[in-house]
Amino acid sequence: MKHLPKHLRPRWRYLAVGIESWADTEIGRRAFQRALWYSAGNLLGDAGSADADLTLLSFAHADGTGEAVVRVRHGHVDDARAAIACVSEVDGEPVGILVRGISGTVRACEERYMGRATASSTQRDVAFEGAERPAVVRGDACDLRGESGRVGATMFDTE
């Protein structure tokens, strides 16, 4: 179809979203998109959800950390932010979400907020609660299994 004249095209804002999860979980693009829309549908309703749009434009996740660019209709950024904050689980796996920033173009969004070098993760044993436990270490963060399930610690805890 012929594209719209400029004044009729929707105006977008692009949200850079940082994603954190346990190191041993995989989060897929489709699952994250589903969680986003599901959360928006629940919080804002169908109408609000349609207004906010919340289409995932890019997504990357590995080793418990990831980032995404989410497209939002201009003027609905606060609603979108609320919906994004309410994503607490993807496929039953808990996730932490942080909106790093907002831009008017995808390019600015990527240049300014994305692709931050994240420390690569390594698997090794660390001392925690009086025992050596296998852990995934990424920078200062350290995900391990304690006596009562998963524990998020830092290298500061284990030294």
């Binding site: 609320a82 904050a85 808990p94 979400i97 909106v99 001392a127 200062d140 998963r150 998020g152 610690a153």
Partner: protein
Amino acid sequence: MYEAVHAHPDGEATVARHAATAARHGYDGIVVRTRDALAAAGNGGGSTAADGDGSPICDPEALREEYGIDVVDAVEIDADDPTSASGAVGNYRSDRTVVCVVGGDDALNRFAVEQARVDVLVRPMASGGDFNHVLAKAARDNGVRVEFDFGPALRATGGKRVRALADLRKLREIVDHYDAPYVVSANARSHLGLRAPRELVAVGEAIGFDAEAVREGLRAWGDLVERNRERRSEGFIEPGVRRGRYEEDG
């Protein structure tokens, strides 16, 4: 702005991980609700980085230095009845900066708001608890802050969330009307449950709160901490009275 968190062993992340995440999210400090997770301030700290047995760091001073945000020792008193809660409040008031009482029961809610020694009544509406004008007036008169728990709004789904939101609205209307002091928290049990202040404000707006009210609720933790630290400092005798040198007035 401050956030109050549940740390390991009560939650799934250590105080250090919470502090690192909260610093990234732009908070000025965290209040650690779990008593076992943090040594009381001024006791010189329990284990430090040097002890080598790998137990989580629980010295607030060391954490503050490492992550650059304030770490506050608090306690959450989860008692079955007002009598045992009263004993616990008496025990912990003198060595913890912030004392919270877990509500969720009519008798406990009533007890908490009528005790000036209690700082915060947390989760007053959880598990069938209720709040009314009598409690709101008592909370205002005794300076007990009532917590708006955003946890269910962020993490629950379906009917549970609907009920939690309805409770939040009821609580908001009562607290608003009587100008009772309040705090806002996401009640994070792990670093993944933390949300940045702007996100909490956005969620608050979406569920009917005033943006400024949510910000105020997050700042209130900080004000509370500052007030209590001042009260526990050595020169403090009572509000307005300090032990110190004579002031030279002209």
